[in-house]
Symmetry: D2
Subunit: 135 residues, 4 copies
């Protein structure tokens, strides 16, 4: 298992008139979580795209326990719990500054060739850096 | 079961650099689906809020089968498959103009008092209009 | 001068906790305005891109007079007031259902070669359909 | 004059299919700029709202010189060039990591009573912390 923690601050434009973060915006926070998780492993998603690898999302799940609010400095915990194959799954937990768990979620992404659109095996560079965590 | 169909056109700002609709934006399309589904039953969500009822999303699930693209006129099919209690579940299917199923999803929403934040039973007006579909 | 009118409904996710539409979202409404304005002339922006023409925005101006609110069916009036050169300017007025002017704005866009990034003259097809309006 | 610098990283969901940041998303970056600018002066916008002050945007202007791209760590420079009255103007310059100026812009915001919607004079706390910069 590999686990990473990052944070971001809620923007006014991310709230809605209920006074909380709009439910669709958590997809952006999950994106931040997985991108920074990969960066912490030495793999930038931008670089992966430049190598011709696209990672479209296949599935998203999100459970809203408590609302995030404007100006909250949320903590995004991202976990990779399984060795990637032609897919990779990320699990997320979002907490506020007082440690309250606000949201739990998960995404499954594919590895595709940007050129052909065909599925790929997880890039060697990613498998290498993750190998120590899945002995 | 109650089923409703509406459509919306993909905006440029809803795409990302992969050339498809960003995965988080489907939450907006699901919102359109359920709001128009309720409107077709004679219940406007705006009116519900004015009656003091909030409907925060408790859970979101989304499965991405094929990408929606810029300028696609997507069709959003929304279904209510169970009589609402203190919660209501909407199921969605998004198709493009050629009928290809792009996305499947579901959301569960609560009914809360805007004043106290406490759970409410589904509003009587909504239960009345849905009653014929759940005999 | 060429003038076109279209409409769109305000989504919940487009509001913010002030209870109005977030100021940045008007850029999306202006996009709808100019895209539908061009479509009404027989030119789809999607088709222009397929011909290798990109139209990045060079300048945006927006004046907020009254707020748009959730569920408002706003009317977007788009005007082309000058014959396009290597640039095209669109002017916008957004009104609510009661005819109140909510927002005024304008954007200037360039025509660029998608391949080289170099400026282009306005595509012939667009100049042809606009010619009758700028005698 | 008061000047403040902050930074944020471009999210994938902020790009569009042209491969750059969507033009409407700069409004979010300007929001980050002015909020962090005020925070650096000891005034949180969240706190202002809790004091009953709303700050809707009256006018937005944005000039796009070069595109911001996915994963860019952009620098947002925010300037207050005049002492606030019943309005406050912020000027922005957005640069990428190599110092290239990408975007220039400005917003004018009002101070309104959240309760009555009536214009207010700039809050005393804000005028106090800005006073040394406008002698």
């Amino acid at each position: 298992m590999y686990r990473h923690l990052t944070e971001t601050r809620i923007r006014y434009g991310e709230t809605d008139q209920m006074g909380y973060v709009y439910y669709g915006n958590y997809a952006l926070f999950f994106e931040i979580g997985r991108v920074e998780c990969m960066r912490s492993l030495g793999i930038s998603y931008k670089w992966l795209e430049q190598q011709g690898v696209h990672m479209p999302v296949l599935e998203l799940h999100c459970k809203y326990l408590h609302p995030a609010r404007y100006d909250d400095l949320i903590r995004i915990e991202t976990r990779i719990t399984d060795s990637p194959t032609s897919r990779i799954r990320f699990e997320y937990r979002i907490m506020n500054e007082t440690g309250t768990l606000l949201t739990e979620g998960a995404t499954t992404l594919a590895f595709l060739s940007a050129e052909t659109g065909k599925p790929l095996r997880a890039p060697q560079a990613l498998r290498n850096v993750l190998a120590p965590f899945f002995p």
